[in-house]
Subunit: 144 residues, 2 copies
DNA sequence: GGTCTATAATTGACATGTCAATGGTTGACA
DNA sequence: TGTCAACCATTGACATGTCAATTATAGACC
């Protein structure tokens, strides 16, 4: 039944998303939003352009997600004095809390996903995924 | 920088989709549509409900994709005489051709993605992805 | 036969992603 | 200084996904 890697990756990814969806609902976050919070927490603040690059997503998507996250009280847009084109985005306390909870859910999901994997297999799996990503990324840059 | 499996899987999946996107444009297909064609080609025809289960997607999404695919001449909806609630979906010649081309693009992409992977590593990678999928799937069924 | 429930598909409302176009701001350079 | 290109964010149009509600048909049971 078509055991292509395209299919395998799609299904694993999809199953992950489905496993996490209910928790997103609990937290009041959308699917792409925890990633944004994680980046902001690590970096203190960020422009939307940087967020888009980090998330590998169109800036338009970031813009709209931030609308919703700001409404939910997870982040703030504070204009940049030096450069009025830009917005500096910062996380609120509420955003930090939500991200902490999210990480817990992710760990649970990951344990479930990796049931029966030895430590060595986990490391190998992570390595394969990284290499696959890099291979595609490089091709996309030079080729296009 | 947060090396979670959630992140790793997301990025690999995303890179795959980005690599294939231009080809989808060429073919006039949307992202979820080749999967539908593949199923129809293997099974001759199908109801929309079955397609939704196979694609692990809401029936509503299938309904709208079929609208577009029918408009594009890739499939036909032919009512079921026995059960007028249902539609039997069939692939057109154009649909078969597009799917053939799609498979070629997928193989190319896969080669790119697996550059530097030995045969044994490929097999292992596929195995890990399948196991991860099954683990999540089972948990989702019993747990929820 | 008539009602009641289950099923197939569709539709609407919303979130997220793409691409293309727009608006403001900055900065470089003649 | 004035123009022009580059850049950041936003918006609109569209595809895809979710969930919830609706419509039409089937099938079961009284």
């Amino acid at each position: 039944m078509e055991r292509t890697f395209h299919m395998l990756l799609y299904r694993a990814f999809h199953a992950q998303r489905n496993a996490l969806r209910p928790h997103l609902g609990e937290l009041g976050l959308g699917a792409g939003q925890p990633k944004i919070l994680g980046y902001l927490i690590q970096n203190g603040s960020s422009r939307q352009r940087q967020l888009a690059e980090y998330c590998e997503v169109d800036p338009a998507a970031i813009s709209r997600m931030l609308d919703s996250m700001q409404k939910g009280g997870f982040v703030l847009r504070q204009g940049d004095e030096q450069n009025r084109r830009c917005e500096q985005i910062v996380v609120t306390e509420r955003g930090r809390e939500a991200y902490g909870a999210w990480q817990g859910f992710c760990r649970e999901m990951e344990e479930q996903m990796l049931t029966g994997f030895s430590d060595q297999e986990r490391a190998q799996f992570a390595d394969y995924l990284s290499r696959a990503y890099r291979n595609l990324k490089e091709g996309g840059e030079s080729g296009a």
